[in-house]
């Protein structure tokens, strides 16, 4: 018998006579706190991320300012004019390591938890580009912000790879002192549009 057959047989034997019917109560919804965008910004900042809010016609200017002289990589369909930024061309990890910054958009923002979620479509790029450079500038539209985790799960496509980001990389492994930036970007800058 293969390991597969053995395990499935053992599972069935273990549950012989056990009813599969379980009362699963629905997960409660978070109460509507109103002011979603304000809550989102407050919670993102609470994670020691940097936050800027601006109007739609100010985005390019704000992002250029945030980047300064940093060498930036961008996904193929970012849709922002950033002089000097290089479009990701399937760089190797070592090549990406030469970049200081990355600019992307997001798929969803979650107010309750201060999270941005990337689903890595062409305006967000491959997973590696938001991981190796040390500064991640993430442009989020106010209309993309939802209240809580269940709303995000309902919107997102599980067939795509997803990256949920809440603040910069962090560790509390040394005497539970929080340190930002272990392996991922040490700075997360969220630019909220609208």
């Amino acid at each position: 018998m293969s390991a597969r057959d053995d395990i499935l047989r053992d599972v069935r034997q273990a549950l012989a006579g056990v009813s599969p019917a379980v009362d699963v109560p629905p997960a409660p919804r978070a109460p509507d706190r109103g002011g979603l965008v304000a809550l989102f910004l407050e919670r993102v900042e609470d994670y020691r991320a940097v936050v800027t809010r601006c109007a739609a016609d100010e985005v390019e200017q704000v992002v250029r300012h945030v980047l300064g002289p940093a060498r930036a990589v961008v996904p193929p369909a970012l849709g922002l004019d950033l002089p000097g930024a290089i479009v990701d061309d399937g760089f190797t990890a070592t090549e990406l390591d030469a970049y200081d910054a990355v600019v992307t958009r997001a798929a969803v923002g979650i107010a309750e938890t201060g999270t941005v979620v990337l689903d890595h479509r062409p305006d967000q790029g491959r997973r590696a580009i938001t991981l190796v450079p040390d500064l991640h500038v993430c442009v989020v539209d106010a209309g993309q912000v939802v209240a809580d985790v269940p709303d995000a799960i309902a919107l997102l496509d599980p067939a795509r790879p997803l990256t949920w980001i809440s603040g910069p990389s962090a560790t509390s492994d040394i005497e539970l002192d929080r340190v930002e930036g272990v392996h991922g970007p040490r700075t997360l800058h969220v630019v909220l549009v609208g």
């Binding site: 293969s2 390991a3 395990i7 499935l8 053992d10 599972v11 034997q13 273990a14 549950l15 056990v18 009813s19 599969p20 379980v22 699963v24 109560p25 997960a27 409660p28 919670r43 994670y47 399937g90 990890a93 070592t94 390591d97 938890t113 201060g114 999270t115 890595h120 491959r126 997973r127 590696a128 991981l131 190796v132 985790v149 269940p150 799960i153 309902a154 599980p158 067939a159 795509r160 790879p161 997803l162 990256t163 949920w164 980001i165 809440s166 990389s169 962090a170 560790t171 509390s172 492994d173 040394i174 005497e175 539970l176 002192d177 340190v179 930036g181 272990v182 392996h183 991922g184 970007p185």
Partner: protein, 496 residues
């Protein structure tokens, strides 16, 4: 100490040793209290926490009750998404699969995401025996690995180490296995983390094979989920060409929507955050993005044994948040090593005997490593009734020893008591004897209890196990029956 729990002594022996380590107790008390307070604060933010717990428990329980169906669905979804699915009955099979896939790519090293399943099966040691170096990339796991040490906590495996010890380990060992720590390394957490970043980055950038576990596996979409903080997980999950994920069969949930209560419960319960910094989800292979060869090893290793236990089955709901460790008065004092397993604390005290049985002395001692105070059940986000399972496992230990040819001391004492209590003349004789003993003990005792009653301190012989940690009140010199006879039920007055 070496990096394996094999041959650890039973809990009472290991606990006694830990209790003597003042530094360890100080580190643990600080750490558990900090996490406990953080957790309480963010849990209090959620108005419907109890409803959320019920939903989380329900989702996991439903998945377990129909596990075979969900596993078959998961396998089909994963294969459809381009992954290769393997099944492993035990640790040995799982380790062999990982080694085989690694060797097929001609490499002699892998990078690892912190994973309880791979620690449980002793993967690093098994790979080392095959000439493959497995680099732990979680900061705490790195500290444990470099220190040739054992993990002592599910969430923060190096919780027993302070910053001075970590600095010393980095200085001494990093150079042996890669980029050395800078010579001017201080014990500032930020400086230590930076040294780990530099040390590991060269490994991330060159690694071709990575190994992970998974926090959840979604059957209907074939999605695996890894929840982490440092970004080392993302590094391993996305940069190498090949990814091997070792997933316990109890990790499966039925649908994508089932992740909702779990992703709200887990970070708040474990690190005391509203959300952990990074959550990665993926299903098989995504062309042009991430590993282009993905393997999933579905692991039993005792889980079907636990599944067959009607009371203990609920332990498989565990999402490894470690909240039960941080509130446990026993764990706080003895730490993680005393439990002799990668699963310490209250959950370890039930999970280990459920997975492996109580036939050896070490696992059989674990259900007793508890005060049954119930704090672990209170904090468990998926409502595992740990105290009830502990009591049930104690019964399993007793049942296992029922046929022993040499009865245990408790059994002898209980039998003697039952003999004495079943006949009033025997009881009277026994009481007279104990009154006599009381006079003797009272004379030699060094302790006086509140109220003036004498108590015996440390007694020799079989009673030492009891009196080593407690005072034994001396028996009264006169029994109640004797007093009744002498005073005619108190009508004759008179103390003597």
């Amino acid at each position: 100490m070496t990096g394996t729990f094999v041959g650890m002594p039973a809990f009472p022996t290991a606990a006694r040793q830990a209790l003597g380590d003042t530094q360890l107790r100080r580190n643990l008390a600080h750490a558990t209290h900090v996490i406990r307070d953080k957790r309480a604060k963010v849990v209090a933010e959620v108005e419907d926490w109890e409803e959320l717990r019920l939903a989380g428990a329900g989702v996991k329980e439903a998945a377990l009750r129909d596990l075979a169906t969900h596993l078959e669905t998961l396998e089909a979804s994963l294969v459809r998404a381009g992954a290769t699915v393997h099944w492993a009955r035990d640790a040995e099979e799982a380790c062999a699969i990982v080694a085989e896939v690694t060797k097929a790519h001609g490499v002699d090293e892998v990078v690892k995401v912190k994973s309880m399943a791979t620690a449980e099966i002793g993967l690093n040691e098994a790979l080392e025996a095959e000439g493959i170096a497995a680099w732990e990339t979680d900061l705490a796991e790195l500290i444990v690995q470099l220190g040739d040490d054992l993990p002592s906590h599910i969430l923060v495996p190096a919780i027993h180490r302070n910053r001075a010890e970590i600095r010393e380990i980095f200085l001494r060992r990093m150079g042996d296995v890669g980029r050395p720590a800078p010579a001017d390394l201080t014990d500032e957490p930020a400086v230590l983390a930076a040294a780990a970043r530099a040390h590991l980055r060269e490994k991330f950038l060159r690694a071709r094979v990575a190994v992970s576990g998974a926090n959840f596996a979604v059957a209907d979409t074939g999605t695996l989920v890894v929840v982490e903080s440092e970004g080392n997980g993302r590094m391993c999950l996305t940069l190498p060409e090949v990814l091997i994920s070792v997933v316990g069969i109890e990790k499966v949930v039925a649908t994508w929507a089932d992740l909702d209560p779990l992703l709200r419960l887990l970070p708040r319960s474990s690190t005391g955050e509203r959300m952990n910094p990074y959550t990665s989800t993926w299903s098989g292979v995504t062309p042009g993005d991430g590993p282009q060869e993905v393997h999933v090893v579905l692991l039993d290793n005792g889980r079907t044994r636990a599944l067959a236990d009607d009371v203990g089955r609920q332990a498989l709901r565990c999402i490894r948040c470690s909240a039960c460790l941080n509130v446990c008065p026993v764990y706080e004092r003895v730490g993680g090593h005393a439990y002799g397993s990668v699963y310490p604390g209250p959950i370890g005290a039930i999970l280990n005997p459920l997975l492996h049985g109580v036939s050896d002395e070490q696992t059989a001692s674990l259900p007793y490593a508890s005060s049954l105070c119930g704090a672990c059940f209170e904090v468990c986000p998926v409502r595992i009734d740990i105290p009830s399972v502990l009591v049930d496992q104690r019964a399993a230990v007793v049942d296992y020893h029922r046929a022993d040819r040499v009865p245990k001391a408790e059994a002898v004492a209980m039998k003697a008591a039952s003999w004495a209590f079943s006949d009033s003349r025997r009881l009277r004789t026994a009481e007279r004897a104990s009154g006599l003993a009381g006079r003797v003990l009272g004379r030699f005792s060094r302790t006086t209890l509140p109220g003036g009653r004498a108590a015996a301190g440390r007694l020799p012989g079989p009673a030492a196990g009891w009196t080593g940690a407690r005072d034994l009140p001396a028996p009264p010199e006169e029994s109640f029956r004797d007093w009744w006879d002498r005073t005619d039920g108190g009508r004759d007055g008179g103390a003597r």
